[in-house]
Amino acid sequence: MNAWWNNTLNSIRLEFREKQTMFWNFAFPLFFLFIFSSVFARGKPEVVSYLLPGLLCINMMSAGFFGFSIGLVTARERGILRRYQLTPFPAWMLISSEIATSFVIAGLALGVQLTAAKVIYRVTIAGNPLVLGLMVGAGTLAFLSLGFLIASVADNAKIAQVIGNMLFFPLMFLGGAAFPKDMLPKSFQRLAEILPSSYVVDALKRVIVDGQGLSQNLTNLTVLLTTCGCAIFVAAKLFRWNAQEPMPLEKKLWALSVVAIFVAAALFIR
């Protein structure tokens, strides 16, 4: 466990030394907040608080789909993972440690965004801050897990970037993160119901805007944690230390079918 802590603290330290990471994690979300709040909401607190759940969700998604997944694929491509593979430090410890690192960084970034919204735009959070923290945490974990899945499927950083974008934009526009889902046609709204971003935005709206508690968010929480578990399960099965080791077709098909079953089940339950 000592090794796990060492690695996590080390990785967090390294994140703070990367100027690029700092920009995308902290400066960019703030810039987004200012644009949305000042231009679209004209600085009105009640409108900003309505936009805030989507902004937080976008922040989480970029942490998972771009920050974490590209970071992991690059570490594999450069042979950093192979350096770890030589040691007795097990794969699950390494991955959980890297997820924890991204979780901490994303948590800080979300905290900064929230604080800025409160201080600059005087947004009030109607619900319990602990429930808000829980839902933000669950959402972040869900997207980091999906980022892990992208990293496991993608053979290189370019492909990871493409898959990340292919997920990011539909999840942002259809999931209600960029604009309210009510503005979408009915068929799209139905599709949006299987997107994890819908549940994150819904959960945060319930807490921030409507002041609802945990009991009204149990569905959201369950969906997000299930997404997290399923993504980690598939990603762990596909995990590779070595970039030169291409994934066999059977494994790709297996991953695809598991995800398809998951999506079908989600559609059916709805």
């Binding site: 000592n2 090794a3 080390n10 450069r78 042979g79 192979r82 350096r83 593979q85 030589l86």
Partner: protein
Amino acid sequence: MTTTFAQPLSAQPAARNSQTPEEFPVVVRRLAKKYGDLRAVNDISFSVRRGEVFGLLGPNGAGKTSTVEMIEGLRRPDHGEISVCGFNPVTEPNEVKQRLGVTLQSSALPDKIKVREALQLFGSFYRKRLEARKLMDFVALGEKAEATYDTLSGGQQQRLAIALALVNDPEVIVLDEPTTGLDPQTRRELYNLIEQLCSQNKTVLLTTHYIEEAEKLCDRVAVIDRGVIVALDSPAQLVATSRTHARIAFRTAQPVATGELRQIPFVAGIAQEAGGTVLQSANAPQTLIELVKWLELNRVELLDLHVTRPTLEDVFIELTGRKLRE
């Protein structure tokens, strides 16, 4: 599929007992690995004695890296047995990793990690660890302790890789192409480092496609080509058994009649090359004595002379029918 070497197998227990893990920390028996139709490693066997530097010499794609990666537990063999300090890399990978120090052909560290941090972090993964300060001093990176990885030169990065390989005070060190891609100066620095390891009685298994490296560093060399060991001996012995002759090249003030030179004992061939005469000899010292006598007798003035002994490179060409660096 694989069995620990120390466990009873089938035949010749006596022969196996003579190869205890104490004496032979690395034992490889009938190892094979296929990638699709390509037999990357095809029935390879060898044992590395404690305290020796054992080299796997061969061209790119000969199967060297596949072999060491199976020893390291990074790849699963299709057939054969491996024992590292008495442990099986397939069934007991952690016990093997605790005792092994490895540099890979292509690996890296995060850009922003400092030399000291890297050694402390990786040290914390092992039961036994050496102090970061000691390791940095050993690889002459003491002044770079607080430098981040991306600011190090190629040679410094490779020295850090060696320090990382030593972080668990390993019984066996595996260096996979440690000097590939480095400039000659840096390569010499690394040779010194590896020689220091040998003087500390560490067991080293090293792969290379540089003949000089194998000749300079290794106590024994396995010449490997197309997944098969074609010769295994000390570099000197390999060269001694070579059919290639030593070359005696000399220049004289007066022209010499090649026909008479043929009478000199052990001369196997004569050629006139740009600015000199070249004799091929099966016994260079004897030929040399006779040549000097002949030159004096005929009052031919000797301007220049040098002897080239066959090298591992010649041995390699003899064994495989092709050059090492193609």
